[in-house]
């Protein structure tokens, strides 16, 4: 059936299209996928087309359908909010491979992959380190909206902190926006005033919070991409989403003509998630050791974050 597959020969590049909700360089969710596609290109002969900034779901849907009609091999609907549209579009294009996330739902379709991340694991590691580094005993979390991988990360983070010292206060503040930088800054300010000397946060709005953190010398933990650019002097560690882990599996399926929709979850044990430490802010040896121990435990299954 390889020959029938839209006439693509082995030499032709695999055409991958991606639709992302925010800017390709947002230092967060969308950028993590763009970076991953770059890494994927090192191993496979691919051609990539990106439509970013489609925060309006219907615009994304039109782009998704457009890519499918244009004959792309793989269409990535990078955003859990796109699932509703994808479930309606995918059945119309049985020969196109769709992937979306973060999610664990393929709508029972064989041409739909969904990808998710066990982001509570990185949260747990970050939380463990944070618990060791706080002196005030108060930690602040600036979250956007309480959904999906974000909620997982923050819950994991809180669990990580509590695993070290249950008496540490973790103030969690969901500001209800992925993008409101000003609100994020003010939330961070409130955390600082509540005594926080360590903070974390997710999504593109955190740039507001990291500004406040820098001003007050508050340490920062990131997720999704390496957030060192937001403050070399405060960013301690970041959990990194390596979507190329999931992407490469989908590409392999395609190349081997074994496409069958399934859920692919990235975690530390399969290498879909990794930690990045700021070389400019090396951890104390004992703290690094504790972090490494947690990572190892998560990898070999001897440790669980306890987050649902």
């Amino acid at each position: 059936a390889e020959e029938e597959d839209a006439g693509r020969s082995a030499d032709d590049p695999i055409r991958i299209a991606m639709v992302g909700p925010s800017a390709s360089n947002d230092l967060a969710f969308t950028q993590s996928m763009v970076d991953s596609l770059d890494r994927l290109g090192e191993d496979y002969n691919i051609e990539v087309d990106v439509t970013d900034g489609t925060f309006v779901i219907e615009d994304a849907a039109v782009a998704i359908r457009g890519y499918a009609e244009d004959g792309f091999d793989i269409v990535l609907a990078h955003g859990s909010q796109f699932g509703g549209s994808l479930s309606e579009i995918a059945p119309d294009f049985p020969d196109t491979v769709f992937a979306w996330g973060t999610s664990r739902d393929t709508f029972g379709l064989t041409n739909v992959y969904s990808y998710s991340v066990q982001s509570d694991e990185g949260g747990f590691i970050n939380g463990t380190i944070a618990a060791h580094m706080t002196e005030s005993g108060t930690i602040g979390v600036v979250g956007p909206i309480e959904v999906g991988d974000i909620k997982l990360y923050i819950d994991g983070f809180v669990a990580g902190v509590k695993s070290v010292d249950p008496s540490i206060t973790v103030n969690v503040n969901y500001i209800d926006s992925f993008s409101d930088v000003a609100l994020a800054a003010e939330a961070a300010q409130a955390h600082v005033e509540a005594g926080a000397d360590v903070m974390t946060g997710v999504s593109q709005m955190v740039v507001g919070a990291t500004g406040v953190a820098r001003e007050h010398g508050v340490l920062w933990f990131g997720s999704q991409t390496d957030q060192v650019p937001l403050g070399e002097e405060i960013v301690v560690a970041s959990q990194i989403y390596r979507w190329d882990f999931q992407l490469s599996q989908i590409v392999e399926d395609l190349l081997n003509d074994e496409v069958s929709g399934r859920v692919i979850t990235a975690d530390f044990s399969n290498g879909g998630l990794t930690m990045a430490y700021n070389p400019g802010l090396p951890l104390a040896d004992d703290v690094q050791a504790a972090a490494d121990a947690v990572e190892a435990g998560l990898k070999d299954g001897s440790l669980s974050t306890g987050v649902e």
Binding site: D26, V172, A182, A187, A190, V207, G211
Partner: protein, 310 residues
């Protein structure tokens, strides 16, 4: 958490409120002077965004905050000239062209940011400065009189603007032009020149308001202002076109936002209640507009283009 009523939390909220009120105040004062001369500028939000981007980008490239502030003023002023030409020379409907300026500012600031900067790169924002003497007060001084310099500028502009409007010949012209432009014109006061100046100054202040926001946050991003500009316009109505009233309104909004954030941080409001709290400023604005609808002080010529001989 039970400690949300402690003195330190209240003071922190107050300080936060003052800080949050600053961009509102700067923009609303700028809008006030424009409206006193009879020009409604609904594009404040767009001008704020351009000012914010200008300040951010200039500071990013030169590392000079002062230069950033200057750029935000200039960017605002240039938009003022544009708006002046559109509404004064072309006599465009002010309500709609203001919305056009808003959309333009929203798009252009985002476009420039994506093209020129891309990845959000933080800059060193405005540091806090203690007011001599007052800053040394125990408790209060620590919290309230340690603010960035634009906060002081904004609050100082309140009496300055009052003085200019009520005690200078230029202010007399502004009041006359906003009320009865024909009368001012018949006495040789140039209606257009007066309005060009107020629009220029008003927009420069809107630009500065955006700059204050960007420099306080040390960052720029798409739609940074997120509705500040529109609330600033409502504040002019709230304040009955008087600087002191506008200041009171800005403080109310600053404090409400600060309190909401404080409550969220302390976990007093969670989840979906947050949406209810999120609509609070808008509901408050409408209530305020209902209460001040006596319109005392609204310049009679507001939104009315002036054409000699008509």
């Amino acid at each position: 958490m039970s400690d949300f009523l402690t003195v330190s939390v209240l003071l922190a909220t107050l300080a936060s409120g003052i800080r949050l009120a600053t961009p509102f105040l700067l923009a609303a004062l700028g809008e006030t002077i424009g409206q006193r001369s009879g020009v409604l500028n609904l594009g404040v939000e767009g001008v704020m965004l351009l000012g914010a981007y200008g300040a951010y980008y200039a500071t990013l490239r030169t590392d000079s905050i002062l230069f950033g502030i200057l750029v935000s003023l200039i960017v605002g002023g240039v938009m003022g000239i544009v708006y002046g030409v559109v509404t004064l020379a072309l006599k465009a409907e002010q309500g709609i062209s203001g919305i056009g300026i808003f959309i333009f500012g929203l798009g252009l600031s985002d476009l420039l940011f994506q093209k020129q900067v891309g990845t959000p790169t933080p800059i060193d924002g405005l540091g806090d400065v203690a007011v001599p003497l007052l800053g040394d007060l125990p408790w209060v001084g620590e919290v309230i009189f340690h603010q960035n310099v634009l906060v002081y500028v904004a609050f100082l502009l309140v009496p300055v603007l009052w003085f200019v409007i009520n005690r200078t010949p230029f202010g007399l012209n502004v009041r006359a032009v906003g009320e009865t432009p024909e009368a001012a014109d018949s006495l040789g006061v140039s209606v257009d020149r007066t309005r060009y100046i107020t629009i220029f100054v008003g927009n420069a202040m809107a630009g500065l308001a955006g700059g204050a926001l960007a420099l306080e946050l040390g960052i720029f991003q798409q739609n940074l202002t997120n509705g500040h500009g529109f609330i600033a316009i409502a504040l002019v109505y709230f304040g009955a076109w008087r600087p002191s009233g506008v200041m009171a309104g800005a403080m109310v909004f600053g404090l409400v936002s600060a309190t909401v954030l404080q409550w969220k941080t302390l976990g007093i409001v969670v989840g979906t209640t947050a949406s209810i709290v999120g609509m609070f400023p808008a509901v408050l604005t409408i209530l305020v507009l209902v209460l001040v609808s006596r319109r005392t002080g609204q310049p009679s010529a507001l939104t009315r283009p002036f054409e000699r001989g008509h």
